[in-house]
């Protein structure tokens, strides 16, 4: 039986009629046609599918559709506001903090979540916060630098 799932997606209210047990990643990618969240491993190891649920980085491959009931979900498509890039997005560009780009949406959302929790993270805190996001191309050092400079740019803002 389909459930009615109501939540906010990138600031817009959504009412979905879906089986609430379906993995949220596939609901996003197919039903909602938002393909920024990627499938990487399906078991929550790699972080390519990361979205924000009530501003906290969450693995959408392990999330069920019903888990977002009445929550606020942000995907990579909703991080830039009114055509203005988020400081983390800008920092990723300026630091060349990506190569193939497949892990990038998950990296950015995890970083946004990290900076919301810790406005001025040390290098060690960034490493710890990003540890469960995998990048195969080896952009790690630049991602760390990008997050540090985004934190400076944001001056503790969110």
């Amino acid at each position: 039986m389909p459930d009615i799932i109501s939540f906010k997606l990138n600031d817009k209210p959504v009412r979905l009629k879906v089986d609430g047990d379906r993995p949220f990643l596939w609901v996003l990618r197919t039903d909602l046609a938002l393909t920024g969240a990627k499938f990487g491993c399906g078991e929550g190891h790699c972080g390519a599918c990361t979205v924000l649920v009530d501003n906290v980085a969450t693995r959408s491959c392990l999330l069920k559709a019903k888990d977002v009931q009445n929550k606020e979900v942000t995907t990579i498509e909703g991080v830039d506001k009114d055509g203005k890039l988020h400081p983390v997005q800008k920092a990723f560009m300026e630091h060349d903090a990506l190569q193939c780009g497949f892990c990038t949406p998950g990296m950015i959302l995890t970083a946004v979540s990290l900076l919301r929790e810790t406005a001025k993270p040390s290098r060690e805190q960034i490493v710890r916060g990003m540890e469960q996001n995998f990048c195969r191309c080896g952009a790690h050092t630049r991602i760390i630098d990008a997050i540090q400079s985004a934190a400076a740019e944001m001056k503790g803002g969110r």
Partner: protein, 723 residues
């Protein structure tokens, strides 16, 4: 570039697959609209890698060219290339080369990449060959286009060409500033098709204004906003998602399947095409569920190898070798030796493990199949898919969106063939996106390999003989570059062409194929001899180096590191290694800390120096070096595919550990500035050093010598007990 512009790596003017099957060259050009078209293929410009051409390019187009560009009536320049963008950066660096030679702003260049109906034939994006071999014909095409534009402007203004200057997409008359015309205006109403027959005059690198400067990635904005599309992000009306039945083990033959339970799920379609069994559904997660309901029977696998006994097996079936290099007389060398060293080096199977699994979406319209694929080899994918469904190559079009990492693994196109067969059988568009478990099963692993080295030094520490035998890695990087009077290098079995009964699963090219294995063995052995001679390992290499370029990079690395000579093991945890790959010389020095109790290794600092000829995008080259160093720590320290009797035991990232943030050392890169020699490879070279540089640093820290990759905590502890 203006960061507010989104870059279109796409096919904007192509709405459906049916829009695009021109039957003739005339139709092809008609569809591309007006403008100036330059085709290039000139004898000595045709790259070595294209030697086996042609195998057919776009339908209706001549197949005798390897670069093709268009200057449109809107002034935009389009580069059509069979190369693909998987993170290594050609979408930026090729555009830089083109813009420089054509005197047009970088922002005016659009790239159409990896589309088999639009782009000239290409054998695949690998081997660090894009800049080296596609660069020259591309520059030639751009130079020719510039010459055509100057001719047109001279006619228009009725002045001699010598009076004209081309700059940033505009031609100006030096004598009369009112005579000013843009490339777009010149292209207007034109239908000029040029085939370059003679080698045009290319700019001297000193005239470059765009190449040689770091520019931001042109695809960055799309990638940070989620707009960049990968093969799995393409949506077609009515498309179905496939999940494919995977055998429990390699070698296990398919017997039968009972799909009754799966078919009870509404909307599920089961396709059986020989041993290809798949469930299809309009939702991928329902297809997942349905796959679990299939009741399949397979024969037991006859394979009896596992990740421990595989080396004995490989040695027992290894083919005869071929001589890679030899000189002097080994017997003489052995007589001259005061000390001899016999070592055997091993490395395990390693997975490519790109974060994007192999993916393809195939759709059949009429008698033409179009496939969006994550591939490093669009033309090969096209031909394989065509063969599998009984089509001609011209009836299949492969389009390559952004690729989410390849590392050699996406030169193999099994998922493309699966998608093509399923789309044909189902009569609907079908997406195949491998699960991570599929990826660990069907990926072609870097082959396990064995290197045996016998070598010797005389009483003064000079190397006097070197007998090198590599099995299964191939000969890439197997040659040494030291002054050793008596030497022989033999390679048995190449990296992917091994006797059929060698490997229990598919093997293939893995970033710098063969060279990771060979450099690990060679540079470890050199280190062993340096330590036995009581000579500092940098000094030992420098004093016996036969290659001047290598000497320069090793010196550059040592200078940047602040190397203070000491004989090993010095307890400092410093290691050194050097090597050559894809025309590039590279040297690295690493500092490690070893936890003696746990056997874990933390790489603290890596300094890497590289000489790669002329550098097109210095920042891009640096990023590739950093990527190599980071990725290379994986095969050095943890990455090993475990298997038994054909079953792959690593099925996801829980047991197969790739490098993470906490591993990352302080990385310092040095690129030697060489403007007067052609660009060499950059995507692979630095990774070849990571096995040896870490092994040598572990030795320096602990006195323990590691002979097997990866250097897991267990192996480190075992080596320390022996030391």
């Amino acid at each position: 570039m203006n960061p507010s512009d989104h870059l279109t790596l796409d096919f904007t003017d192509i709405k459906t697959a049916a829009d695009l099957y021109p039957q003739s060259r005339r139709e092809f050009l008609k569809r591309l609209g007006g403008g100036i078209f330059i085709f290039v293929a000139v004898g000595d410009l045709v790259s070595a890698q294209e030697g086996s051409r042609p195998r057919g390019g776009p339908p209706g187009l001549p197949t005798d060219f390897n670069a093709f560009l268009r200057i449109g009536e809107n002034g935009r320049v389009t580069c059509f290339t069979g190369k693909i963008e998987m993170g290594q950066g050609p979408i930026t660096s090729l555009a830089q080369m083109l813009a420089d030679e054509l005197d047009t702003p970088l922002e005016s260049v659009d790239m159409v990449m990896g589309d088999t109906d639009l782009c000239p034939y290409d054998m695949g994006t690998w081997g660090s060959m894009t800049t080296r071999f596609f660069g020259p014909p591309l520059r030639a095409a751009a130079a020719e286009a510039r010459a055509v534009l100057l001719e047109l402007a001279a006619e228009q203004f009725k002045v001699p060409q010598s009076q004209l200057v081309a700059k940033e997409g505009v031609i100006v008359d030096r004598q009369n500033q009112a005579n000013r015309i843009t490339y777009g205006q010149l292209a207007k109403g034109q239908k000029i098709v040029r085939h370059l027959e003679a080698k045009p005059t290319l700019k001297d690198p000193s005239q470059f204004t765009i190449s040689g400067k770091s520019v931001l990635r042109r695809d960055a904005k799309d990638k940070v906003t989620g707009k960049a599309r990968y093969a799995g992000d393409i949506r077609l009306p009515g498309m179905l998602y496939a999940r494919i039945l995977r055998p429990p083990a390699h070698g296990a033959k398919f017997k039968s399947v009972d799909a009754a339970l799966a078919k009870e799920i509404p909307g599920v379609q089961v396709v059986q095409d020989g041993d290809l069994v798949a469930v299809l559904h309009e939702l991928p997660d329902v297809a997942d569920k349905a796959l679990g309901k299939l009741e399949a029977e397979f024969e037991p696998s006859p394979l009896r190898t596992d990740d421990r006994n595989i080396y004995d097996h490989l040695l027992s079936v290894a083919p005869a070798g071929h001589m890679v290099a030899q000189g002097g007389d080994l017997e003489e060398g052995k007589k001259a030796a005061a000390k001899t060293f016999e070592s055997t080096y091993f490395n395990s199977y390693v997975a490519h493990a790109p974060i994007e699994t192999h993916t393809a979406l195939a759709t059949l319209e009429g008698d033409k199949m179009t496939i969006w694929a994550s591939t490093q080899n669009p033309f090969g994918a096209r031909d394989e898919a065509a063969r599998a469904i009984g089509f001609s190559s011209q009836q299949v079009r492969v389009i390559t969106p952004f690729v989410g990492g390849g590392f050699g693994g996406k030169g193999q196109n099994r998922q493309v063939v699966q998608a093509a067969r399923l789309a044909k059988a189902a009569g609907k568009p079908v997406q195949v996106m491998w699960t991570r478990e599929d990826e660990f099963f069907w990926d072609t692993f870097r082959p396990a390999a064995i290197v045996k080295i016998s070598s010797g030094i005389d009483g003064s520490g000079k190397m006097v003989f070197w007998d090198y035998d590599v099995a299964y890695a191939g000969d890439r990087g197997s040659q040494h570059f030291y002054t050793i009077p008596h030497h022989r290098t033999t390679a048995r079995g190449s990296d992917w062409n091994a006797p059929k009964n060698s490997h229990p699963f598919g093997t293939g090219a893995w970033r710098a194929p063969g060279n990771n294995t060979n450099t690990f063995a060679r540079e470890s052995q050199i280190d062993i001899m340096a330590a036995a001679a009581g000579i500092d390992p940098v000094e030992f290499r420098m004093s016996q180096m036969a290659d001047a370029r290598m000497t320069r990079v090793l010196k550059a690395a040592a200078d940047r590191f602040g190397w203070a000579p000491a004989k090993g093991p010095s307890k400092r945890g410093y290691g050194v290694a050097c090597g050559a790959d894809a025309g590039t010389c590279v040297a690295a020095i690493a500092e490690v800390a070893v936890d003696g109790k746990k056997g874990t290794v933390q790489v603290k600092r890596v300094v890497c120096a590289q000489e790669m000829g002329q550098v097109v995008n210095p920042e891009g080259a640096k990023i590739q070096m950093e990527g190599c160093i980071t990725m290379g720590m994986g095969y050095a320290l943890t990455e090993e595919v475990h298997f038994k009797n054909g079953e792959v035991l690593d099925t996801n990232f829980d047991s197969y550990e790739i490098p993470r943030f906490s591993w990352v050392p302080q990385i310092e890169t040095v690129i030697l500035d060489i403007r007067d020699s052609p660009p060499q490879g950059g995507g692979e070279p630095a990774i070849i050093l990571m096995g040896a540089v870490i092994a040598n640093a572990i030795y320096d820290a602990t006195g323990a010598r590691l002979f097997q990759l990866p250097m897991t905590p267990e192996r480190v502890k075992a080596a320390m007990q022996k030391a």
